[in-house]
């Protein structure tokens, strides 16, 4: 069992498609949001939408780490790397996210700032150990999936008594963002997504478990089904959501039981609780300020906190006016609705964050989805 081919069986996918078509007859429309960018990518890549009836719509959610990071945070990181004699490390996608004034970390690097892409926070920690005279800052982004590794690195830095390692912490939390989206007003024209059910994130849930979604499902009366990343996982999840919607149920169900438990990864949760505390509020691109939706370092770890160490002050920055990332992240617009999509904004030259990462809704649509639309339009002509 490689946990791959078993979940990519075409004949089984057609059986599931048949069952979904049957279940989808009960209502005129089903609007399902896949919260996670990994799911957005898989749905586009495997052409899942082609297997769904026309009245089952998949809405892309905000679960792409670089997409939700607001411009002001990238501006902070660029300023830090440009003005201080230090090495700034971050994940590769972060380097290409557009910042204010048509800049990016990649461009700051080209102008001479010492900015490195790393695969893991452990690489940044190693760099700090190898160069004790040079300060190393890890620009930490991501959801609960990457937060435990950041916490673990901070604990390791404490154990190693490193004086030249710190973290600019921008970790964000899934349940508050999900609540924000489900709680948005449903009036037409208000930009509300009008979501009937949520495909719950798989990797975030490996860490936090399925339990934290229960109050969200209960409060907003919407079902959540946690899904794996293979085509059959996603088809089965859609079927489970349709059945709940048809039966007016709004429970948290778990399709990805091989990786996700109710309690989650307790060791990872303990690490996060030891090192991080909740911020009062944090700005998300597209979603605005959300209370208690992000982590900062606890005062006990203040010496590893780049915000304290370098006096980083967050300033809200204007997003590119032509870019529809905000509405796309809220689920109220699709990539094809943006007038710069595929023209001014491409994965090679992204204007907006959603075009940067392969998990971003626009990048996924650019790589896979737009060909289907072109084919559909040609067939209709």
């Amino acid at each position: 069992m490689r946990h791959l081919d078993e979940y990519r069986d075409g004949a089984l996918a057609r059986v599931l498609a048949h069952k979904i078509a049957g279940a989808a007859q009960a209502r005129p429309q089903y609007r399902l949001m896949e919260f996670c960018g990994g799911h957005t990518h898989a749905i586009s890549r495997y052409g899942i939408v082609d297997l769904l009836p026309a009245n089952v719509n998949m809405i892309h959610g905000p679960g792409c780490p670089v997409c939700v990071l607001p411009t002001g945070r990238i501006d902070n990181a660029i300023e830090l790397a440009a003005q201080q004699p230090l090495t700034l490390c971050t994940y590769a996608d972060t380097l290409r996210v557009p910042a204010s004034g048509r800049s990016s970390l990649m461009q700051a690097k080209a102008r001479g700032a010492d900015i490195r892409m790393v695969y893991s926070v452990a690489d940044a920690l190693r760099l700090a150990q190898e160069h004790p005279a040079r300060e190393t800052v890890f620009f930490a982004i991501g959801f609960e999936t990457t937060a435990p590794s950041t916490a673990q690195a901070i604990r390791a830095a404490e154990r190693l008594q490193l004086k030249n390692f710190s973290v600019f912490c921008n970790h964000v939390l899934t349940p508050p963002a999900m609540a924000e989206i489900l709680g948005a007003p449903r009036a037409p024209g208000a930009g509300a997504a009008g979501i009937d059910g949520v495909v719950g994130p798989g990797h975030v849930s490996c860490i936090i478990g399925s339990r934290p979604y229960e109050p969200v499902a209960e409060q907003y009366r919407r079902p959540v089904v946690i899904a794996g990343f293979e085509p059959l996982d996603l088809m089965q999840t859609v079927l489970m959501l349709l059945r709940q919607i048809n039966q007016n149920r709004y429970q948290v169900e778990n399709e990805y039981t091989r990786a996700v438990t109710h309690a989650g990864n307790v060791r990872a949760q303990e690490l996060m609780a030891q090192v991080f505390e909740l911020r009062d509020s944090f700005e998300w691109r597209g979603l605005g300020e959300i209370a208690h939706s992000a982590y900062r370092l606890r005062p006990g770890y203040g010496r590893f906190d780049a915000e304290r160490r370098y006096g980083i002050a967050y300033r809200r920055a204007a997003e590119n006016k032509a870019c529809e990332c905000g509405a796309i992240l809220r689920g109220s617009k699709q990539p094809g609705d943006c007038r710069v999509f595929g023209t001014g904004c491409t994965p090679e030259h992204p204007l907006g964050a959603c075009m940067v990462s392969s998990e971003g809704a626009c990048a996924a649509h650019y790589s896979y989805g737009r060909f289907r639309e072109t084919a559909t339009a040609a067939a209709a002509a």
Binding site: M1, R2, H3, L4, E6, D9, A11, L12, V15, L16, H18, K19, G22, A23, Q25, C36, G37, G38, H41, G63, C64, P65, Y91, A92, D93, M117, Y119, S120, V121, A122, D123, G142, T145, T146, P148, S149, Q152, H203, C206, I207, F229, L232, Q236, R243, N246, E255, T257, R258, A259, V260, N265, R267, A268, L271, S357, S358, E359
Partner: protein, 86 residues
């Protein structure tokens, strides 16, 4: 960090062998890589793990995987008519 190993696009990785106390060599679709097992200390050689940005975050439970696959197999045997009544 290629497309397949981008942050959120993890594929199941086989633990080839443990290296140090908290590290292991994994095989993710033919690509071998050192990852941290600090978040999944119970993972052993032969296990599959979900790897995310250099850290294993979950050990795949083979019994649960079999249960999910059995559910799919069962579905294939079901008649489509049964669904309409669900």
């Amino acid at each position: 960090m290629g497309g397949g190993l981008s942050m959120c696009l993890a594929i199941p990785a086989l633990v080839v062998r443990r290296i140090e106390a908290e590290e292991a060599l994994i095989d993710a679709g033919g690509i071998e890589k050192r990852v941290s097992l600090v978040l999944v200390p119970e993972a052993a050689a032969g296990d599959y793990v979900v790897v995310h940005a250099g850290y294993a975050i979950s050990r795949l439970d083979p019994d649960e995987a079999l249960r999910t696959l059995a559910l799919f197999a069962e579905m294939q045997r079901d008649t489509p008519e049964a669904e309409a009544a669900a």
